[in-house]
């Protein structure tokens, strides 16, 4: 899936996260994560974000994640939504979201 425009998903409420995607500089994939629980879970959040992007076939763009203590399922959901909005996807391949 190719990110063609800037898009947001999520909120900055507790137990949620805000994900911002953009096409970036066109030189590959860059993921930037900040979190209230960075020390304990930063590595896990980064892993979930990258795994979700890989399943969606995203190989290029800038993905900025501001986490407020979300569960993995919410992280996946917000990344998926931001990517679909950024890719202007009209249909969903549900198997890529499982």
């Amino acid at each position: 899936m190719k990110i063609v425009k800037e898009a947001l998903a999520g909120t900055l409420e507790s137990s949620d996260l805000l994900v911002k995607v953009s096409p970036g500089s066109g030189t590959g994939l860059e993921v930037v994560v900040s979190s209230e629980v960075m020390q304990q879970f930063g590595h896990q959040i980064d892993h979930v974000v990258r795994d979700t992007l890989a399943r969606l076939g995203v190989t290029a763009g800038l993905v900025v994640v501001e986490d407020k203590g979300a569960l993995d399922c919410a992280i996946r959901a917000r990344v998926q939504t931001a990517v679909m909005r950024g890719a202007e996807a009209q249909t969903i391949d549900w198997s890529a979201l499982s």
């Binding site: 998903a9 999520g10 909120t11 409420e13 507790s14 137990s15 949620d16 996260l17 979300a70 569960l71 399922c73 919410a74 996946r76 959901a77 917000r78 998926q80 939504t81 679909m84 909005r85 969903i92 549900w94 979201l97 499982s98």
Partner: protein, 290 residues
């Protein structure tokens, strides 16, 4: 016999509530993709609910997704998400006739086949929200073997009737019609939400009414209504004690090969035994009434 006293509504776009609602232990949790979600967040709520449904904790509680009506652009994508995520029950809003349920059933079966889910494993419920729906309640209740129940939705119904919520008089016919349809079809019946969270006495008065009418339970909009509702539906100690003696007498009668037995001179037959079992089930779920 699944106990369905409390069906807790959760806004589908709210990550915090979706991540924690199971701790409140309602009988069923309903993820709402319809009225509780703004138009610009329909896509994000759908994807959030799809992911939340796959949390292991939601395998231990009955899950329901209220989709948008199928005649909107959101209905079918909602249904794809819910069925593919393994939801237990799909709740259809604004059901006016049997054909609405039949269309839903066809689409559910199509999705089950497409994703490899066992055909028939997705159950349905229909919410009746209009005068037409109330008039057609029996046909709706019998429209599909997948239906586990029908619900009355008060707000849209009173709007359609050109009235407003009051002391319950305005809902009396609809409640009775929906309830009779459900009972004739041997499925569950759910009452309207109580929206004034600060009026606990009004909530309990309404719960007492719908319990005496015969509703299985109520749709709820706040976790703090769960314990109040469960307690109101809990039997008294005397009722539990009597129900225990009824079930014991029935077992003894069955052991002796008797069709009908008596307890303290009163005949105990099938309906009495079924009622006693329901009393014991409610007591097991939440104790006796406090």
């Amino acid at each position: 016999m699944k106990l369905r006293r409390s069906m807790l509504f959760l806004p589908g776009a709210n990550a915090a509530m979706l991540s924690t609602a199971f701790v409140y232990k309602p009988d069923s949790i309903m993820f709402d993709l319809e009225d509780a979600v703004s138009l610009r967040e329909k896509d994000s709520a759908r994807i959030l609910v799809f992911n939340a449904l796959q949390l292991p904790v939601y395998r231990e509680i009955e899950t329901v997704v209220r989709i948008n009506p199928l005649n909107t652009p959101f209905g079918l994508p909602d249904l794809e998400a819910a069925v593919r995520a393994g939801v237990d029950v799909v709740r259809l809003p604004k059901t006016d006739g049997a054909e609405d349920v039949e269309l839903l059933e066809r689409e559910v079966e199509r999705i089950e086949r497409a994703c490899g889910r066992e055909v028939g494993s997705t159950r349905l419920m229909a919410a009746i929200e209009s005068a037409s729906g109330v008039i057609n309640a029996l046909a709706i209740a019998k429209a599909s073997p997948r239906l586990i129940g029908i619900a009355l939705a008060g707000f849209d119904y009173v709007m359609d009737m050109q009235t407003e919520r009051g002391d319950g008089t305005e809902l009396f016919y609809a409640r009775c019609a929906v309830l009779h349809a459900a009972r004739a079809a041997k499925i569950d019946a759910f009452d309207v939400v109580w929206s004034d969270l600060n009026d606990e006495a009004g909530f309990l008065k309404e719960v007492d009414l719908i319990k005496r009418l015969g509703f299985n339970g109520k749709s709820l909009i706040n976790p703090r209504q769960i314990e109040l509702l469960h307690n109101a539906y809990a039997p008294t100690e005397e009722e539990v004690e009597y129900a225990g003696r009824v079930v014991a007498a029935a077992a003894e009668g069955e052991r002796k090969g008797l069709g009908v037995v008596s307890l303290n001179g009163k005949m105990i037959d099938g309906p009495v035994i079924d009622h006693a079992r329901r009393v014991l089930q409610r007591a097991e779920a939440s104790g006796t009434r406090k």
